[in-house]
């Protein structure tokens, strides 16, 4: 049986695009035929669940019952990949809980593949989280996701500041999520469908939709860029899946 894979997507700071990145991950695994389930910790009303209702469950990660729901089922349910969208402010407590229940030890000993997508916004407050999160990252794949929610440069113009954040953690891998056109983003919000369905001009129940060709084009272009980053870090290898020959989003 394949090793269970847990991907935590989070940040302590709000508004940095955690759910957006989670959605691109779910679309990526879907396009690569990797069975995936997701947990949305934005209890009681989850944004991720609105876009991926069939595979997403809303949980309150601070309760033991819901922690059991996620982690006690890792070896018993069929999707081998579990994506957890951790709401703002809960990243550090969630990682501390994972340490306390012995999950991080299990990851370190190789029983579980554990990855953290730490979503970073263009602010010092956001970057300051890196050092704190890094303390939990032994045995985990740690991805620093630079999410370009605006036209920021993530302090690349100031090399000492940039290096102090991005080159301090030895085993962390940088990922870049480019900025999506605002109107395109809003149109997908209104449609409440996964990015892939939007690109394919489909509604929530796979019915034909009538989204703007221009906005679909922007989303397709953006999604292709995001996925090329996932290809670069060999995400399908990480989850132990063989890559699909043709992905639906790239047809």
């Amino acid at each position: 049986m394949a090793k269970p894979v847990v991907i935590v997507v989070g940040a302590d700071k709000g508004g940095v695009g955690k759910t957006t990145v989670s959605r691109t991950l779910l679309d990526y695994f879907n396009a690569n035929n990797v069975p995936t389930r997701a947990f949305d910790t934005e209890s009681p009303r989850g944004t991720l669940k609105r876009f991926h209702p069939d595979i997403t469950e809303i949980v309150d990660m601070t309760t033991t019952a819901d922690q059991m729901k996620i982690f006690d089922t890792l070896n018993t349910v069929s999707p081998s990949v579990t994506v957890i969208d951790v709401r703002a402010g809960l990243m550090s407590p969630a990682l501390a809980s994972l340490r306390d229940i012995g999950f991080l030890d299990a990851a370190r000993s190789g029983q579980i593949t554990f990855s953290v997508f730490h979503i970073l916004g263009p602010s010092i407050a956001s970057l300051d989280e890196i050092a704190e999160t890094a303390n939990f990252m032994q045995g985990a794949k740690y991805f620093l996701v630079k999410n370009f929610i605006n036209n920021t440069s993530f302090f690349e113009w100031d090399q000492s500041t940039y290096n102090s954040y991005f080159h301090r953690i030895k085993d962390a891998t940088d990922l870049t999520i480019p900025k999506l056109n605002e109107m395109a983003f809003e149109q997908v919000e209104v449609a409440s469908v996964p990015f892939l369905k939007f690109v394919a001009n489909k509604g929530t129940s796979d019915e034909a939709a009538n989204y703007s060709f221009v906005l679909r084009g922007y989303v397709r272009h953006w999604l292709a860029n995001v996925w090329s980053e996932y290809d670069r870090i060999k995400l399908t290898d990480l989850v132990g899946a063989s890559k699909a020959v043709t992905r639906s989003g790239e047809k």
Partner: protein, 222 residues
């Protein structure tokens, strides 16, 4: 016709005759098909709207909303030919957007046939822009316009290697005559009884070039 042509008349340079080509083409398509929709994205120069106000809609691509208004119409296979007079100031933005949204591929899927009519010049910017288009647009649908009013020297071989459409120069008094906003090429053909006049022949020659271009498109898409 089993496809909808979209003619994009463009150049990265001002005052090279884009609007004149767009006028000629719009009037030709109106004469031949009885209908045409022209878009003026050239509001910073003397533009199509001034000459063909009944056929022309204005469009802007400075923001996403404007892009949607234009491109969501261009991608529709409604059988009605469309002509775009693309201003020099939006040349880069327009083709960057086309690349990003996958316009050429999606158009092919939907039986829409974009044809880029690039009004050539010998300056470095035109060279670079033509090179960009050669990478982005299939060679069969990238037409280089050799406008004798503008081009005095030989074109670089890279530019003239593909398909060309020649527009002969007119004497300056006829140029001034056709530049009047009330002038119509088709009306002139209809009203001028003497078909041997230089202007009559010039218009007919250009209409013939457009007809040949359209025929080659039909063959290509059949």
């Amino acid at each position: 016709m089993s496809f909808t042509p979209v003619y994009i008349v463009c150049s990265p340079r001002p005052l090279v005759g884009k609007t004149m080509v767009a006028r000629l083409l719009s009037e030709f398509l109106l004469l031949k098909n009885g209908t045409v929709t022209s878009f003026d994205i050239n509001l910073k120069e003397p533009s199509l709207l001034d000459y063909l106000p009944r056929l022309t809609e204005t469009a802007e691509i400075d923001d996403t909303y404007g892009k949607m208004q234009l491109m969501d119409r261009l991608i529709i296979d409604d059988g009605e030919a469309k002509v775009i007079d693309l201003g020099f100031h939006v040349f880069d933005e327009f083709f960057k957007m086309c690349e990003e949204i996958g316009f050429i591929k999606e158009a092919a899927r939907r039986h829409v046939a974009p044809v880029v009519l690039f009004v050539a010049d010998t300056d470095r910017l035109s060279m670079r822009s033509h090179e960009l288009l050669r990478r982005q647009i299939p060679r069969s649908t990238l037409i280089t316009i050799d406008n004798e009013h503008i081009l005095r020297g030989e074109l670089r071989p890279e530019m003239s290697a593909g398909r060309m459409l020649h527009i002969a120069a007119l004497p300056s008094f006829l140029r001034t005559y056709i530049d009047r906003q009330t002038f119509s090429f088709t009306d002139y053909l209809r009203q001028e009884r003497d078909s041997s006049t230089e202007l009559h022949q010039w218009i007919r020659r250009n209409y013939l070039s457009f007809r040949e271009l359209e025929l080659s498109l039909i063959l290509q898409n059949s």
